[in-house]
């Protein structure tokens, strides 16, 4: 799979199929990017489970933080990786063990070896993208901020 470009249909299908997302590297600090993404995705109806060994046992936006993916006591649809690219491989191993269906690496995070491993295990992979940005772009909200969404349509926008 080409990880330089993703079709809108590919991203839309992923964002519409997942319900529970484990966010590895979620921060309890309100002005960190992960907190922005978690809060936004919660507002769109996703269940976000934060994973961060430094904040294990604390709560972020009402959700208990786990030290690692293996500790999360319920099924996970997608793992969102908010860590350095080099840290992605062991997280992907855990995602495969947890039977997650999708591995999503944040803007600036790309690890082709980890991606290949996930894909070999039947998971879908997105790298170097932000689910908040992609969700809002595909649903017209990003255009409210003056951003070029690349979407041309004579159909009423779905909110």
């Amino acid at each position: 799979m080409n990880h330089d470009n993703y079709s809108d249909a590919y991203l839309r299908e992923i964002l519409h199929s997942v319900k529970t997302v484990a966010m590895v590297g979620a921060s309890p600090l309100w002005n960190r990017p992960s907190y922005f993404v978690m809060k936004y995705l919660q507002s769109k109806g996703y269940r976000i489970i934060p994973v961060n060994p430094q904040a294990a046992g604390e709560k972020i936006l009402g959700e208990t933080v786990y030290a690692d993916l293996a500790e999360v006591p319920e099924p996970i649809d997608m793992v969102d990786i908010f860590r350095r690219s080099e840290a992605a491989l062991p997280i992907v191993d855990e995602a495969i063990r947890k039977h997650a269906k999708i591995v999503w690496m944040q803007l600036g995070v790309r690890n082709d070896e980890a991606a290949a491993k996930a894909e070999a295990a039947g998971l879908k992979v997105v790298m170097n993208r932000c689910p908040k940005i992609e969700y809002s772009r595909l649903h017209g909200e990003l255009a409210w901020s003056g951003v070029n969404t690349g979407i041309i349509s004579s159909k009423r926008r779905r909110l």
């Binding site: 809060k39 901020s145 070029n148």
Partner: protein
């Protein structure tokens, strides 16, 4: 549209940013004539103020009609995002405000629109921003003028009023080697004729008052970000990379990535400079842009015919239009704007200052006024109007000496445009 097709420029000019209204299905873009927007609850309000969700708070910072124009312009220029503002001058102010601090410098072409030279050279000084002006015809001049305090280089793709075309790619390279931001004013070319991001520009500014709106009904400006500039490559752009105190230590570049400039331009630039675009003016500009490709085709065709006619006229000393064989800028024009060199150009009268005054006062189809890029043909004598605040030396450097007349050729019948020029030139030679 199916994703396998990349929409053409003319399709984007009509559709980009303007899907039917989600609430009503209105096909034309509604004019959201409102100052403020209700919050669902306190938490929703907090999310908006913290920039954690997308939405409207107050029309000084964002408005749905204005957003359509922003996306339309970002799309036409091939950029990531845009900030629409009240005027072209406000666009320049907002672009520099994003990263300049007292004591900082930037290098600008000295062949800019006279109003920009005044804004940069005088009013910017009050903020402690220092503009260094150089002759853009020799790109190395920009390199020679570099100082440790320089943060950006600013040029116009086609200079107003001189018919001068800038070597965008060469200057972009000099800017990027020095870690500077490269800003191009693309007002006179419009993205239909020239696409500066494809030649290395990082930001593009426009006065939308001109060809983009086209009708002369509405003022407006826009700053477009390519989304490709690395704000963290050096220590020059701390307002984007370091914690922003007014947003509790948020770092725009870290949080918003390639959207950082667009988000900061609204959240800080529009918030504090207050140069918001009126929704009605955004609507009028959007409507104008729909026909931009059709109008520009006619503008450049008429301009070339008028310039060729003037070049043969006995009362005319010279014509400076980059579309002419005789122009020293012809090669640059063919490289950067192969569809035409715009429709604003200057020519010199053998009769000097007096002949210039007589000409502008005796034409009947051309309107004597201080604007360009209208559907109507426009004429002005810069030395007695737009450039009169400059010294004679600055006037000459800007291509606006005493004998110079500037034309903005409209989309009327070319026979009528030429007949009116002939009548005016005959009167000016008397």
């Amino acid at each position: 549209m199916p994703e396998t097709r990349k929409p053409g420029f003319d399709t984007l000019a009509v559709h980009a940013g303007a899907s039917p209204d989600p609430a009503t299905g209105a096909r034309s873009t509604p004019i959201y004539q409102t100052t403020a927007y209700v919050f669902d609850d306190v938490d929703h309000a907090a999310s908006l103020f913290n920039l954690q969700s997308y939405g409207y708070i107050y029309s000084r910072i964002g408005n749905p009609t204005v957003s359509v124009l922003e996306e339309r312009m970002a799309s036409l220029e091939g950029g990531r995002g845009a900030i629409a503002v009240a005027t072209g001058h406000a666009a320049q102010m907002l672009a520099f405000f994003a990263f300049m601090e007292p004591g900082d410098q930037f290098i600008a072409s000295r062949k800019l629109y006279g109003g920009s030279i005044t804004q940069f050279g005088r009013s910017f000084k009050k903020f402690g921003w220092d503009a260094i002006f150089v002759d853009p015809d020799e790109p190395e001049n920009f390199r020679r003028a570099l100082t440790p305090k320089c943060k950006a280089i600013f040029v116009e793709s086609i200079a107003n009023p001189g018919g001068v075309v800038t070597d965008i790619a060469a200057i972009a390279e000099i800017a990027h080697q020095a870690g500077l931001l490269f800003i191009v004013d693309n007002t006179l070319a419009t993205p239909y004729l020239c696409r500066p991001f494809e030649w290395g520009a990082d930001l593009i500014v426009h006065s939308t008052t001109k060809f983009l709106a086209g009708h002369g009904h509405a003022m407006g400006g826009v700053v477009i970000d390519s989304g490709k500039f690395d704000w963290a490559q050096n220590q020059k752009f701390k307002t984007l990379t370091e914690p922003e105190p007014a947003y509790h230590g948020l770092r725009f570049y870290e949080n918003f990535g390639d959207l950082a400039f667009t988000v900061q331009g609204h959240a800080v630039g529009l918030r504090d400079l207050g140069a918001s675009l009126a929704p009605l003016n955004a609507f009028l500009t959007i409507t104008g842009i729909e026909t931009l490709p059709l109008r520009m085709e006619r503008h450049v065709r008429n301009a070339l015919a008028a310039a060729q006619h003037l070049e043969r006229h006995p009362a005319v000393a010279w014509v400076s239009y980059a579309g002419l064989e005789s122009s020293p800028y012809r090669a640059l024009a063919q490289k950067y704007m192969p569809k035409g060199a715009g429709s604003v150009f200057t020519f010199g009268l053998k009769g000097g200052y007096e002949a210039g005054v007589k000409l502008v006062e005796s034409v009947e189809l051309f309107s004597h006024l201080a604007n360009i890029g209208d559907t109507r043909s426009l004429i002005i004598h810069p030395a007695s109007t737009t450039h009169r605040q400059l010294t004679e030396e600055q006037q000459a450097a800007a291509g606006a000496g005493p004998e110079v007349v500037r034309l903005s050729i409209g989309i009327e019948s070319i026979e009528d445009i030429i007949a009116d020029l002939d009548r005016g030139l005959a009167a000016s030679a008397r």
